[in-house]
Amino acid sequence: MTTDQIRGDEYQVEYDSGSSTVRFQGTVRLQTTDDYAPVNELLLRAHDAAAGGQLSLDFRQLQFLNSSGISMVSKFVIGARKRDQVRLTVLGNRDIYWQQKSLGNLQKLWPNVQIEIL
């Protein structure tokens, strides 16, 4: 089992190969596409490692994500749809308002995405 992680002042993103999960924590409101590149690259590594199986994106401990971050995650989902190599599950938290409101959008981009708002 390996973990691959990125830490910022207010957030942490980690890939846990054992559970094939990318876990987001804290508040992610980065400034530019370049600032988001490391997170995007972590997602792509997780995708490649999970090819042929399943991958979970766990947002349950993510308080805030700005629209640039929503865009980055959305584009990752479109990329995964185009490659069609993983079964993607998205985990959300019903007590965090933006997740109730916006996580469902990912399924509109790729109907095969399974969304579980717990």
């Binding site: 002042d9 207010e10 700005n66 640039s68 929503i70 865009s71 185009k82 933006w98 409101k101 959008n105």
Partner: protein, 192 residues
């Protein structure tokens, strides 16, 4: 605001409006950009401050204090980020104002741009105000994957589509050949 203001969308003249509270703060766009986390910090402060006007256990159909604080933090962070990213020209002041009323909140952010930027922004706004938001949202994302373009252009779209926030936009000539851009966000306390 002067009569020379050109407006689009849900614009309301708030001069002298009756309200439970008026808030105002001036910031510097260049500093917001340099110390980026100030966008998030300012958004968190004003969202929590303002949400205290509504009860923790709101009646059915009204936003609870927690959910309101959450929406406002997302909204204000997007608006401060835009002022930081898109201010242009000699005037760097960013003005935050808020009017709190029993059934709605109106946030007004003003920043300045060079006149040649106005047509592009006005075109963007025109499309936003007349579009099918669901379709535009998907289209923007699919196109930016195809083109590999970096920008996202999802800020106002997510706020309108997912939270039912209505926007007004004003453009007015300002000192030193600048254009003052004013963005008004109308938040209903009734849940969307």
């Amino acid at each position: 605001m002067s009569t020379a203001t050109e407006t689009l969308g849900a614009w309301e003249d708030l001069a002298g409006a009756a309200a439970l509270s008026h808030q105002r703060m001036d910031l510097d766009a260049a500093q917001l950009e340099q110390y980026w986390r100030r966008c998030s910090l300012s958004a968190d402060f004003w969202s929590r401050y303002t949400a205290l006007f509504v009860p923790g256990d709101a009646p059915r159909g009204r936003l609870s204090q927690n959910n309101l604080a959450h929406v406002l933090s997302y909204l204000l962070n997007e608006l401060f980020e835009n002022c930081a990213k898109f201010s242009d020209g000699p005037i760097r002041t960013v003005r935050y104002e808020c009017v709190v009323r029993p059934d709605d909140l109106v946030f007004t952010l003003t920043n300045h741009i060079a006149p040649e930027r106005q047509p592009g922004f006005a075109r963007f706004v025109g499309e936003l105000l007349s579009a099918d938001l669901e379709a535009l949202y998907i289209q923007r994302l699919e196109e930016s994957v195809e083109s590999g373009a970096g920008g996202s252009g999802l800020g106002y779209l997510t706020l309108m589509k997912d939270y039912g926030i209505r926007f007004g936009f004003g453009f007015a000539p300002a000192a030193e050949g600048s254009v003052a851009v004013t963005v008004q966000a109308h938040v209903q306390l009734e849940e969307h």
